[in-house]
């Protein structure tokens, strides 16, 4: 059985490898987490009801220097898509509006805002 978790101070290591892969691998593709590469970190999540042909403002609670990485999921199964169900990050970089257009009904939307920006923090 291979060792899959390795935490060490000197030299610093913080690694979790994929099932069946060793923490001693030199291939970064073999890791879930590796001290040499970043991962996206969930920041806030919530669920809102967006009225038909309307929008809902969601505050991030922080101001990003670059656009936040956002993902949306609709309870109805509709895939988030521009000019259907989509988010618009506002110019203040501290909030977004989730829009619902052209579908003819209110949508329940779960949003995920990550600590990471598109383009780096």
């Amino acid at each position: 059985m291979v060792e899959r978790v390795h935490i060490r101070r000197n030299p610093f290591r913080f690694r979790i490898s994929k099932p069946g892969k060793s923490v001693d691998s030199s291939n970064l593709d073999d890791f879930i987490i590796h001290e040499g590469q970043g991962v996206i970190a969930p920041y806030i999540t919530g669920t809102v009801t967006v009225p038909n042909e309307g929008n809902v403002l969601v505050s991030f609670g922080r101001t990003y220097s670059r656009p936040a990485l956002v993902m949306l999921k609709c309870a109805s199964g509709v895939v988030a898509y521009p000019y259907q169900v989509y988010a618009v990050i506002q110019p203040d970089m501290a909030s977004m509006r989730i829009y619902n257009t052209r579908l003819g009904a209110a949508q329940t939307v779960t949003y995920y805002v990550y600590w990471n920006s598109i383009g780096g923090d």
């Binding site: 970043g38 990485l69 521009p82 990050i89 598109i118 383009g119």
Partner: protein, 145 residues
């Protein structure tokens, strides 16, 4: 007090788990971090300011490449665009770069291509100066060709 970090044994597996605030590891059905599932890993990211030098009197042409260390496969990647009003759409879309020219004149279509070592952007917009943001994930979409 809730247990939020566990390094050790859980549900017959050894590993590391971190639960959301207020949620105990023992009852959590989702985690901020879990060794039982893969994470979205960042391979490269950055921003690029495109200042076009070529126009057709109506639209500016933006064409550039965003190189990153070769992965040997075509990765998942996201390109975001800050529009003139300062807004950024999610999902990122090519709509601002697809320009309808009129009846019988056709449409300028934009292209974003992803290779094993670069993203290529090609499109037209009424703005000459546009900032793009990108993140490349260390996750395979296709085998490299």
């Amino acid at each position: 007090m809730t247990e939020r970090i566990r390094l050790g044994h859980k549900d017959g597996e050894h590993g590391l788990w971190v639960s959301p605030p207020g949620v105990d590891i023992a009852t959590a059905n989702r985690f901020l971090l879990s060794s039982a599932a893969d994470m979205l890993k960042i391979h490269a990211q950055g921003e690029y300011r495109s200042i076009s030098t070529l126009d057709d009197s109506v639209y500016w042409k933006h064409e550039f490449e965003l190189p990153f260390p070769d992965l040997g496969y075509i990765p998942l990647a996201i390109v975001g665009v800050k529009q003139g009003n300062g807004e950024v759409n999610f999902p990122p879309n090519l709509w601002p770069f697809t320009q309808y020219l009129g009846v019988g004149l056709g449409t300028y279509m934009s292209v974003i291509g992803i290779a094993t070592d670069r993203i290529k952007v090609y499109g037209w917009n009424s703005d000459k100066d546009i900032t793009f943001y990108y993140t490349v994930f260390r996750h395979k979409l296709l085998d490299g060709v």
